[in-house]
Symmetry: C2
Subunit: 392 residues, 2 copies
């Protein structure tokens, strides 16, 4: 390159897509604190507080609870490669991009994966999985608690019971639920969970909180061969996050400053309050969207509060709508993914972004964007969403 680029000037965006979510100023400020060493006694104290706060947010006493040094997808791979080895049996229902991804990760780790196709936009019924299991035992039953590709919340209890019948560890992807929807690992009997920081925790992407039960750790201890990934090997990483403080890799110091602050804000608000906020704002958004005459493909009782899937009406160019929102409102929503590509939008109300003002702004901006393509709203979106707030 011939010349040195300038410092990068960035626009401010209102992030109402599938993540990253808006990051509070206090978290951004924490990122900018001076870097210190990954074995500095002061940094080790911060790690302990991060670990303790993560346990509270996950709803667990699991000793093995820590943020991996990668994004949510690294959390998925961590969850899989530590408990799976060649020949392990894993069972999963496919109802979106992230369950497909999990099956792919498990196959690359040598697992024998049984998949069951489920309609996208629906949760996975335990009966369907049990039929596919056909009486076989499994090592892992995996589920996507919050399918970010189609906005579905998976009921956990039936799958938990099935996992017990199959002799399987219960693995749950909580990337888009942690901090916005009850996760409660211990109460729900989840053995292996992972998440990301850029959804309902409102921290920038780059870390993947994970938590493994004692049963899952016992499975890890009984492995016959090393974890295929050195970088994600929890037998070593837990020695850095535990009392021994054995160096494994250099932790992403500043990202952990941000996570500490983000978790603090979550707990200061209180998990039940925060979850109720996510629920209320998503109901108000849904009411507004339906008032406009838009269709939400996911059944009411399976909708994921942090992420709403909206069908693109006939004759509307979905990408042009997103460009309109970005250009005129500096507002980001997501396009569809996988089977919903080009057919749906994904509107995220996650963490700091789940607010009444964002619901109003989104409905107003979307109305304008659709009007620009000749779409006539059926009714008054703001009145419909306002009614939800008035009733709650």
């Amino acid at each position: 390159m011939s010349s040195v680029p300038s410092s990068f000037a960035l626009p401010e965006r209102i992030l109402l897509g599938p993540g990253p979510s808006p990051v509070p100023a206090a978290v951004l400020g924490a990122l900018a604190r001076p870097t210190i060493g990954h074995l500095d006694p002061e940094f080790l104290r911060l790690m302990d507080e991060v670990r303790d706060m993560l346990r509270t947010v996950f709803g667990t006493q699991n000793p093995c609870t820590l943020p991996m040094s990668g994004t949510g997808s690294a959390g998925m791979e961590t969850a899989v490669v530590n408990v799976v080895e060649p020949g392990s049996k894993l069972l999963i229902g496919l109802n979106g991009v992230f369950s497909q991804r999990l099956a792919d990760v498990a196959q690359r780790a040598g697992a024998e994966v049984t998949t069951v196709d489920v309609e996208w936009g629906r949760s996975v019924p335990a009966e369907l999985l049990e039929r596919a299991a056909a009486g076989r035992k499994y090592d892992v039953l995996a589920t996507i608690h919050a399918e970010t590709s189609c906005g579905v919340l998976q009921p956990l209890e039936p799958l938990r019971q099935l996992a017990d019948r199959l002799g399987a560890l219960f693995l749950a992807d909580t990337v888009t639920s942690l901090g916005g929807v009850p996760v409660d690992l211990d109460a729900n009997g989840i053995d292996i969970a992972y998440s990301g920081t850029q959804k309902c925790l409102s921290c920038p992407p780059g870390l993947a909180p994970v938590s493994l039960s004692e049963r899952a750790m016992a499975r890890l201890a009984r492995r016959t061969r090393p974890v295929q990934s050195w970088y994600l090997d929890l037998t070593m990483i837990t020695r850095y996050w535990g009392q021994e403080r054995v160096y494994h890799h250099t932790a992403p110091i500043n990202a952990l400053y941000g996570l500490h602050e983000a978790l603090r804000l979550v707990l200061a608000e209180g998990l039940p309050v925060r979850q109720a906020r996510h629920r209320r704002n998503s109901l108000a958004l849904a009411a507004g969207l339906e008032a406009l005459g838009l269709e939400l493909p996911v059944a009411k009782d399976e909708r994921l509060p942090p992420l709403t899937l909206v069908s693109v009406p006939d004759g509307i160019d979905e990408a042009r709508v997103r460009q309109f929102l970005l250009h005129h409102y500096s507002l980001e929503i997501g396009g569809g993914l996988g089977k919903f590509k080009g057919k749906a939008w994904r509107i995220g109300l996650m963490g700091h972004g789940s607010s009444r003002q964002n619901v109003s702004l989104c409905l107003e901006a979307l109305t304008r964007a659709l009007a620009a393509q000749g779409f006539t709203p059926r009714g008054d979106a703001l009145a419909a969403s306002g009614a939800v707030y008035a009733a709650s």
Copy 2:
């Protein structure tokens, strides 16, 4: 947990250990810019500039040049798992912790690894490797260009020639060399290189720049089975960093803001100037340490400018010295690693931290710390280091 912790108050440290290195205020400030989406057109522009600047710093035209979403060790794993599959043959000399780690990573990926033990603190002689190869062909010849565990700089040319004779791709760990020591991938015929951000680039840890030659990419394209790691699979990640912009995982947005600014500062200083600075300050440090009567185990012509290994004198408690420096000077140096644990210190003068004031401060503080344990310096460290500056 019963109560919410306070925002974390951090000490400021002078980071003269094996990394992280001190991060300039402009880079810390960049980290705190508002998060935007990983598919936002403005963010894609930033990615392009990061990629172009990385090419310049690596000294390469390789299209596949990008930062992986993990720390330097994730870079190592990326380098290995993309070009190695079960049965691949890899040859490496073991002269420190990071060559051992690379051999471990390769074995976990199913490679047949030939290792050659070399004295720690010495570079790896090509003849030794060639003898071990015993006429066999290899897929990869791997080397640690800058051994952070013992401060050795590996001459590349003899290994490059050997790789050609073995029919092997040439893989180099440039974690502690990139930005501080000439790396010049294209001129040195390096096919696969990786680095970290927290050494001579003076960015916080969390990203791993990698670069693969066209030959290495051709090897990747000829694989018979998928890369074992979904998260580190370059066949997919290059589609996000390339023109297609296909979503793979959510990029660590704010960390990339930091890297953009850090690379800018590297190029604004100029690589040759920066490398000369690293060389000059390390010569001055070495002169000062030797004047004190301390021994540097690495031979003069193999020393790594960003990291100096210093033997702990008889009768000195090495951990107490580091505690003294941290307590009285808020100054961090590193302890020994692997075979040098308890026997040596590692003093880093990396990136922003490679400065005359840090050389003077380190020599002064170390003199006091040793005096506190009854060590009498042989001569005047500051005069000896000053003579180096005067002569250069």
